[in-house]
Symmetry: C2
Subunit: 356 residues, 2 copies
C-alpha cells in the first residue's frame, strides 16, 4: 500500500482499484501472453469499448495506444501537419506542443496569452492545417470552455482541431464531435503509473495523413494509416504496454459502473470545496482570475508560502503539487481526479484552515 | 502467481524477482512521485549504472529509455540516417528494420538470406551511412557471431553499426565497442512486461544526429541531442514509464549479484541441453543448420508436429513458442532467458522425450 495520498497533478495518486487489477493481470499472465493472442485482442477490444463509453466518443473516432502525451504531440505533427499549425498557449504544456511543431521544422504560429489568462484573440492563421488547444492546462489550471471550442470549430470548419485532454479526462465532459483529434496520458485522471498515452482521431485525420503520405513520410510503425490497419483488428503494430492497456480498461469499467455522471458531479463538488478553501484563506488566491476558465481537475492557487504549505501537508501524509516551471515557488496545485474521494478533499480543505 | 511457465520468446516468463520489485515500487510510491524528483533521478541513475555494468558498456556509451524495439528502429532512422542504410536480414525482425527505413523514404539497401541461413556476402553498399544487423534474430533463432560483427566493423570503419540485441541481452556477451548503437525491449531476456525499450548510443551517433539536424528535423522530444540533454541529468524529456525503469534496474542488479558470468554459463548449459533434445528427437530438427549461428536464447526446431508438441506441453503448464510468421506451424521456439532455471529446462527436455 502507498504511504501517502498524492494530490499532485500527475504522476498522481493511483486509482483505488489499481492494485486489484494489477494482481488480477498477473494472475492471468497478461504480461507473458502473446500480444497477437485472442486473449489479448479481447483485452484491447474491451479497453477500447470502455474508453469509448466513458468518454462518450462519437462513431468514427478511433483510439490508439501511444506511450505519452509527448508522443501524441510528436505523432500529430508527423502525421497531420504538412506545413503549419496554429497553437493557443497560456501555459507550459500548450506552449510545448508549439515547440514540438517547430522542432519538426513546421512554420507554425502561436497565439500566446500570459499564463492563466484568457486569449485576447481567437483568430487562427489562414494557412494553418491544424489548431492546437488545451482543455486543461495542467501547469496553471486553465480550462478551455466547451463554448470556446465550439466557436473555434465554427470559425475554422476546414482545419483539424487537436485537443489536449491530459488531466481533463475522464473528469471533464468533452464534446468530441467539435474536435478531430485528442490525447491524454494515463497518469493523471485515470490514476495509473506513467507509460501509456491515448490518441483519439477521426476520419478527417486519417484522410489528412493519407494526403500527407503522398509527398512526405509519416514515420513508420506509428504512421496513422498503420495504426488504423492494426487497430481495426484490435491490435497494435508493436508489442505494446499490455499490462497498462489491460488495467486502463478495467479502471474505465470501474468508473462506468460507479457512474460516470456521478464522478463528474463529484469533480464539480470537490472543485467547489477547494475553490472555497482558496477564497477563504488569507495566504491563498486564485491564479486564474476568470472563473469559467478555472480548472476543476487542477486547482491552482498563488501564494507566497508554497514551501510552508506543502511541508504542512506532507507531514500529515498528503502530497500537494508545487507550481510548475517558473511558478514553482509561487503556486500550489491540487489535483482533483476521480480517485480522490470527497472525504479526502474535505480533509485537505479542513487542514488548509489550520495554516496561518 | 502466474499459472504457467512461459518459454515463449517474448512476451515471456516474468523474471523470478519481478513481483517482489513491483511490490516494493508500489510501497515506495514510485508511480506517483514526480519524475523530476531527486528520488526518481536516483532511480534512473541506478538503472543506468546497473545496465552499464551488466552489459559491460564501454565509456562513452549512453543509455536512453524508449518504449519498444520498434521505436528504436524508428528513432535510429529518424536520427542517424540522412539518405540510406544497409540491412542484413534473414528473418522477420531484421527485415522489419529495413521496412522502417523504406517507410521513412530512405533509399536503403538490404542483403537478404533465406530465413535462418548465413549471408553469402557481407558487402555493404558504399553510400550506406548505417548498417543494421541483428545479434539474435528472434523469429528463427539465428545468431550473428561476435567475429562477424568485428569483421563488419573492420571493413566499414566509417559507417555506423546498429545492433539489434532484442532477446540477446543480457544473456549473450556483446562487445559494444564494435558497434555504435544497440537496442532491446525488456519483455525478452529481462523478464518484464512489454512497454519499455532501451536505446544505447555512442558519441559517433550524437555527432551524426547533430550533422543531420543541420538540414533535417530529427523529430522532437526523442531527437538524440534532446535525449542526451536530459539523460545527462538522469532525466527523460517526457514522463517515462517510471515503474518499469525502476524494476529494470532492480532485475539488472539481481543478475549482477547472482553473477552475470554464471548466468551466461547457465545460458550455454541450458542451450546445450535443448539442442541435444532436438538432435535426439525423431520429430525435431535444427532449423539453423550452421552450428555457430544457432541462437542460445531462442532455440528453434523445425517439426511437422508443432500443434501436438505445444498442446502436450501446455497441458502440463509449460508454454512453448510457435514458429514466427510463415513458420507458425512448422517450428517450435523455446526461449532460454535468465529467468528460466536449469531445472525447468531439464524438465522441458525430459518431457520432450515422451512425445512420439
Amino acid at each position: 500500500m502507498p504511504n501517502k495520498i498524492y494530490f499532485t497533478p500527475g504522476p498522481a495518486q493511483l486509482f483505488y482499484t489499481f492494485e486489484e487489477h494489477l494482481k488480477k493481470a498477473l494472475f492471468l499472465d497478461i504480461p507473458s501472453i502473446s500480444h497477437r493472442s485472442k486473449t489479448f485482442i479481447k483485452v484491447v477490444e474491451e479497453t477500447n469499448e470502455a474508453l469509448k463509453e466513458l468518454l462518450e466518443l462519437p462513431n468514427g473516432y478511433d483510439i490508439f495506444f501511444l506511450n505519452s502525451a509527448n508522443e501524441a504531440w510528436d505523432r500529430i505533427i508527423q502525421n497531420l501537419v504538412i506545413n503549419t499549425s496554429h497553437h493557443f498557449a497560456n501555459g507550459s504544456f500548450s506552449k510545448k506542443f508549439y515547440d514540438f511543431a517547430i522542432d519538426h521544422n513546421k512554420k507554425s504560429a502561436i497565439t500566446e496569452s500570459s499564463a492563466g489568462n484568457p486569449f485576447q484573440s481567437m483568430k487562427v492563421s489562414e494557412e494553418a492545417e491544424l489548431i492546437g488547444i488545451t482543455k486543461n492546462e495542467t501547469s496553471v489550471g486553465y480550462t478551455f470552455t466547451e463554448d470556446e471550442i465550439a466557436q473555434l470549430r465554427k470559425e475554422n470548419p476546414d482545419k483539424l482541431i487537436a485537443l489536449d485532454i491530459v488531466s481533463a479526462s475522464p473528469s471533464l465532459p468533452v464534446d468530441f464531435s467539435q474536435v478531430d483529434t485528442a490525447y491524454f496520458s494515463v497518469q493523471k485522471g485515470f490514476g495509473m503509473p506513467p507509460g501509456l498515452g491515448i490518441w483519439i482521431t477521426n476520419e478527417k485525420c486519417l484522410e489528412k495523413a493519407e494526403e500527407k503520405a503522398k509527398t512526405t513520410s509519416l514515420g513508420s510503425y506509428r504512421a496513422l494509416p498503420n495504426l488504423k490497419k492494426f487497430g481495426a483488428k484490435n491490435q497494435t503494430p508493436e508489442t505494446p504496454n499490455m499490462l497498462f492497456i489491460y488495467i486502463l480498461g478495467k479502471i474505465a469499467q470501474d468508473i462506468i459502473k460507479a457512474g460516470a455522471t456521478r464522478m463528474r458531479n463529484d469533480t464539480t463538488y470537490k472543485a467547489t470545496l477547494l475553490n472555497q478553501a482558496i477564497e477563504n484563506h488569507p495566504l491563498l488566491d486564485h491564479f486564474v482570475s476568470s472563473q469559467k476558465h478555472r480548472s476543476k481537475t487542477t486547482v491552482v492557487a498563488k501564494t507566497s508560502e508554497t514551501e510552508k504549505i506543502l511541508k504542512f501537508f506532507e507531514s500529515r501524509g498528503l502530497v500537494l503539487g508545487t507550481g510548475y516551471g517558473s511558478f514553482k515557488e509561487n503556486h500550489i496545485r491540487i489535483a482533483n481526479f476521480p480517485t480522490h474521494s470527497k472525504e479526502s478533499v474535505e480533509m485537505v480543505c479542513d487542514l488548509m484552515k489550520k495554516i496561518e
